[in-house]
Structures are given as C-alpha cells and as structure tokens.
C-alpha cells in the first residue's frame, strides 16, 4: 500500500478566549492518497476550513494546533517554523480560496504574480518562468494567454480570476492542493466550468486535492472519497458513492435528505431540528445526539470514534457491536 500523501492524526485546534478554551476541531484523523480527491463537507462552523488552514499553516492566531500530527509524505509539518512552512506552501501544498478577488494582489499583473510564485519555488530563469506561466494560463483556459499575461486582476471576470488562482496554485507543481470553497462565489454555469477544470488538471498533474465545501453537489462531481464534519469532528468518511447513496451516520442521512433535488416532488424536505451546537456548548457524548432521531442512552454519555460500517466509517454507536440500549 502506497504511503499516504497527507496523514492527519488526531488533530486538535484550540482557541484560547477569555471565557475559556474553545475546541474548534477535535480529534480529526484522515488520510489523502497521492492523486486522490478528498471532499470535506460540512455546514458552517463544522471546522472544515480551520482544518485546511492548519494543514497549510495559515491558522490565524490565537487559534493553534493543540494536539495531533500532520504528516506530508511521512514528515511532520505541523511544528515547522515560519520559514520552513513558507517553503512548503506553494511548492508542495497549494491553496485555492473562495474569493478570487482577495487571493490576487490588485496592484500586480497576473503574470508578475505567477512568475514570482514560480521563481520562488523552482530554479527557473525569468524567461523560462514566463514561458511556464503562459503554459499554465493556457492550461486553465485563459484565452490569448500570451497577451493577457500582462493584465491586472480587475481586468478579468470572476470565473477567469478563479482560473488564474488555480494556475497560481499549480505553478510550483505541488502534490496537494487545499481548495476551500473554490466555487461558492461563482455563478452556476461558471461553477461547472471550474469543477471540470479542476478535475482535469488534477488527473493530468497527479495532484491530490482536499476539497472543502458545504455544497454536496460539487463533491458529487469531483471527489473520490468524502469526509463529513460536524461540530469539529468527522462523523462519517468513506468512498463517494457509499456516503452519498447509502449514508450511515444519522447526520449524513439527514443532510442528504434536506438537499432539494430535481427529482421527484416532495412536500417537505427532511428537516433536522435544531442547529449545530456553538463551540461553547458542545454536548457531552456524541455531539449530534440532541438532534438525532435514533438516539439511545450510550450516545448521551460516550463519545463515539469512527467505527467501521461497511465500506465507510461512521462515528455512531449504531454501528458498534454490542447492545443498543
């Protein structure tokens, strides 16, 4: 079995506040194999963006990694210094964020930003880097790349800008890309273009992707495996078709049922009553138990870890051997 490209073990992210320590991400473990697309899906506050930020070393203080390990190609990266992390960022892990306007510096041409990124990580001359930049722009589908390389971000539309951001992320040939809501700010028709592009590029370059989003539809189109997060923990993880067609965890079941679809005509959508608990008030035992329609006594006291349930794993006592009282 090939070694995992990214190995996150028991990650714990804490925020010290004056009201006490908030645990935003609690005991999260997963792996990403080389070239694989892992979709991390969850609602706002579930901790998925924080996990991505921690992996790439961009956690905003006072948030910090309080426990656990993050390994890239078997080497720990969560305890590196700023400089060491800077070298990894871009060269081995690339990032795509939600808002292309914020990811591109408005004062510099996209060519300048591309070339700067390329030359920071790769030993190329100015002209070689420029040629590579034009290649990248063509690859992401920017028409007339040689001419537009000198243009500024504001001269591109939203969809084009996100393509430039993807080009930037791929510039130094990273093996892993963390994409945090890459299509959320885009129109529906552009979303589908970007999704197709991302998929194709990752296949072509053999890049693994950690795709963070709240949009199940995007996951369904791109991911190989899916991790569902709730209140800072992973509640289900498994192959795409399993999680979507046969979800195990009651939260995932509720989530899939609450998505309106183009098929059929339901009077009511499946509704999970209540809302995700605030970080200051996470229930004891299983964090989902107050909203679960299959709760029993054990759920209220003991917190479940990920338990094998067919092809996927779910953090739910329903799948543990033993009685269900």
């Amino acid at each position: 079995m090939t070694q995992a490209l990214l190995d996150v073990r028991h990650l714990r992210i804490e925020f010290p506040t004056r009201r006490g320590i908030l645990t935003a991400v609690d005991d999260v473990s997963f792996e990403i194999a080389p070239g694989e697309v892992l979709g991390v899906v969850g609602e706002s506050g579930a901790g998925k963006s924080l996990t991505g930020a921690a992996i790439i070393g961009l956690l905003e203080p006072p948030g910090h990694v309080a426990a656990g390990e993050i390994l890239l190609d078997g080497v720990r990266i969560d305890r590196l210094s700023h400089d060491e992390m800077r070298r990894i960022r871009g060269r081995r892990i690339g990032a795509i964020f939600q808002d292309p306007l914020a990811s591109l510096d408005p004062l510099y041409s996209i060519g300048h930003q591309l070339i700067e990124t390329i030359r920071t990580h790769l030993p190329l001359s100015e002209s070689a880097a420029r040629a590579r930049a034009i290649d990248l722009l063509q690859e992401v589908g920017i028409p007339a790349a040689a001419r537009r390389i000198g243009h500024y971000p504001h001269q591109f539309s939203g969809g084009m800008r996100q393509r430039v951001v993807i080009a930037l992320a791929l510039a130094a040939q990273p093996r892993l890309i963390i994409a945090d809501e890459p299509t959320t700010a885009l129109d529906v028709s552009i979303q589908s273009q970007i999704i197709t592009l991302l998929k194709r590029l990752c296949v072509d370059h053999g890049t693994a992707v950690m795709l963070i989003t709240h949009d199940m539809g995007v996951i369904a189109e791109t991911a190989d495996r899916v991790a569902v997060m709730y209140a800072g923990r992973i509640v289900e993880i498994g192959p795409l078709s399993d999680v979507i067609r046969a979800p195990r965890h009651p939260y995932t079941i509720g989530l899939m049922g609450s998505i309106p679809s183009l098929v059929g005509d339901r009077e009511h959508l499946v509704q999970i009553d209540g809302s995700m608990p605030r970080l200051t008030a996470i229930p004891a035992g299983c964090p989902f138990h107050p909203r679960c329609n299959r709760v029993f006594d054990r759920c209220r006291h003991e917190r479940p870890g990920l338990i094998d349930a067919g092809a996927s794993r779910a953090a739910c006592w329903l799948y543990a051997a033993g009685d269900r009282t």
């Binding site: 539809g217 309106p260 679809s261 183009l262 098929v263 009077e267 959508l269 509704q271 809302s275």
Partner: protein, 348 residues
C-alpha cells in the same frame, strides 16, 4: 396577457434603467458617452393568488431588480406593475397606498444585514404593527409579537434577545415574522436561503411552505439555485440579462426545457444523483450588462444562433411544449425540444 380572476400581481413591460455614467466633468473631459445599465428590459408576467412563482437566473440577470421594483424600493423607468388592481408605482419613495405597503413585503437574502443589530427582536417584529397602526396598546402588540414568533418556530422569550444571539436560519425566521406582522399576503423572497446551510435551508423552506398553506400566502421566490426553485415553485421564469427568456409551469420547464439558456443551466447543475451523465462543457460567461450583445443577448453562447438571432431581439411567444419562450430557434422549430438529456438522466 389578460388577467384571470385570480391574478394578484401583474407586471407589464417593466423596465428599469440605471444611469451609471461617470460624473459629467469626467465625461466631458474624456469625451465619454453616458453609460446606461438596462437592469430590467421589458419584463412581463402574472402571479396568481396562492401560487409560488420562481424566478431564476445568474448574477446580473435582473431578478433582484425585479423584486425591488415590485415592492417599491426602486421606481420603474417605464411599464406598469399592479397589485390587486392598485398601481405599485406610487410606493416608491413615498408613503404610497397604505394597503399596498401592508400586503406587499420582502424577505431579504442576507440574514445578518436584514435585522437592525441594535434593536431587540420584539421591537423589530413590532415595527410594522406600529408603523401601520394595526394594533393599539402595548399589551396587545406584545401578545401579537409572541404569537408571530411562535408561528415561525421561535419562542416567545426570544423577543427579549438581540439579533446577534441568533443563527442565520433563526434570523430569517425573524424576518418572516416581521413580514407577517405587517399582515402581508404577498412575499417577495430574494434568495432567502442562499446564505444558509443546507439543513437550515430545509427548515426555512418547510416553514415557508407551511405558512403558505396556513395563511394563503403568495410568493415570488427568487434564486439562482434551480434545485431549490424546483422544490418550492409552481411556475418558473428564467431570466438572462434583464429579460425573461422562458416562463413555464415547473413540470414543463424541468422536463422539457426549451430555451438554450435554460437547457444550459439545467446541464450545469452538479449531479448528486450521479448517473454519470456526460457533462457538455458550458461555453462562455455572462456578458457585461453595460454592453449587451445585439439581438438576442444569449447568442454568443448559443449553439443554435443564426443571423436573425444576432440582429433581432426575440419576444416571449407561446412555445410548442408549453409555457412561453423568447427564442427564434424555438419559434422556427430549429431546436429539438424532445426531452433534454439532463431531465432524462435525472429520472423525470
């Protein structure tokens, strides 16, 4: 379109143009022309009492402008909008007709900006009651606010709290309670669930459906999310660059989309059902609304465009499969409108 007995809202050839020209000095010095944005360009439709009309389109299509024209936040440049026979035009920037103000209300997209952060919830919900003088006396008003809060699934005690103590979904419920406080019967909902998580969206959509049944409300539901519109609407209109390109009842639109843009939109929806349908790459982007293409605005992206499409703006005409469509190709029967592959694979 002659109004039926049940027609509540009538929009007739509505037009809204914004002047976004640079200041006159800049124009004079740079010899630039005036810049006009035709946000809404000849839009007409009716809504019957008790039904939900969904309006879909991408950014810049004008659906939000239509919403604001209907409730009177913008003034029409030309055309007419009538509600139960009363002209809505009087609403903009003025006191307008009291009844209209009460009955036409809006639910906004951003749950964080639609409630005044410095006001308590009870004051927010009571505001329309006080403004319209619907009830007298503190106790009567307080009781009514409690009743409304419970009707939207909150607790009466929530009235004492401030908006920041609530989640996005709960804030939308408060907005709905506020609209109901005004005894509204027609709600214009401008992307009411777009900013909400999926499970919260389900709660709010279910609530809106229940309220519609219980109170006989009529909705204009605006969204960019076709799946949501499929769930809530009875009829659906598709907008592109300020015009309606297709308007049909839900079953027809989703089973046999006729306008090429509608077909493209349906094609672009991420496929949860994963029937492995081949995704035809969508071409191009929405053009700059300040410089729309001549003729049919969609022609640069349309695989069926011909000379007529490039020069003549198509009008909404009755379409063979049902509803109305603004497309020369459909009118000339050039497009094969047999079931769209998207709808077949979606199991319809």
């Amino acid at each position: 379109m002659t109004p039926g007995r049940d027609t509540l809202l009538q929009v007739a050839h509505a037009r809204k143009t914004f002047d976004v020209s640079p200041p006159w000095l800049t124009r004079a010095l740079g010899r630039q022309r005036r810049l006009l944005l035709h946000a809404v360009d000849d839009v007409s439709f009716d809504i019957n009492r008790g039904e939900t009309l969904g309006l879909v389109g991408e950014s810049g299509c004008g659906k939000s402008t239509v919403a604001r024209l209907i409730v009177g936040l913008y003034r029409l440049s030309s055309g007419a909008i009538t509600y139960a026979g009363m002209d809505v035009g009087t609403l903009a920037y003025g006191r307008g007709n009291r009844t209209l103000r009460r009955k036409l209300q809006m639910i906004f997209q951003d749950p964080y900006a639609s409630l005044n952060p410095r006001w308590r919830v009870v004051d927010i919900v009571a505001e329309p009651i006080l403004a319209q003088r619907l009830l007298r006396g503190r106790r009567a008003i307080a009781a009514r606010v409690d009743e409304l809060l419970m009707q939207v699934g909150l607790a009466a005690a929530d009235g004492r709290k401030y908006p920041h103590q609530f989640s996005g979904g709960q804030r939308q419920r408060i907005s709905i309670a506020r609209a109901l406080a005004s005894e509204a019967e027609f709600l214009v909902c401008d992307e009411p669930t777009s900013a909400l998580d999926v499970s919260v969206q389900a709660q709010v959509l279910n609530l809106m459906r229940d309220l519609q049944r219980a109170l006989g409300l009529t909705y204009l539901f605006i969204s960019h999310n076709l799946a949501v519109v499929h769930h809530v609407a009875d009829r659906v209109g598709v907008m592109y660059l300020g015009r309606i390109v297709e308007l049909a009842d839900k079953a027809t639109l989703f089973a046999t989309p006729q306008h090429p843009y509608t077909r493209m939109l349906l094609d672009a929806i991420p496929d949860i059902a994963m029937s492995g349908k081949a995704r035809t790459p969508v071409a191009g982007e929405v053009p700059n609304p300040l410089a729309p293409p001549p003729g049919c605005a969609f022609h640069p992206r349309c695989p069926y465009a011909n000379e007529r499409c490039r020069s003549e703006v198509p009008l909404l005409k009755r379409a063979p499969a049902g509803g109305v469509v603004a497309c020369h190709g459909v009118e000339e029967r050039r497009i094969d409108i047999a079931s769209h592959p998207a709808s077949v694979s979606n199991g319809i």
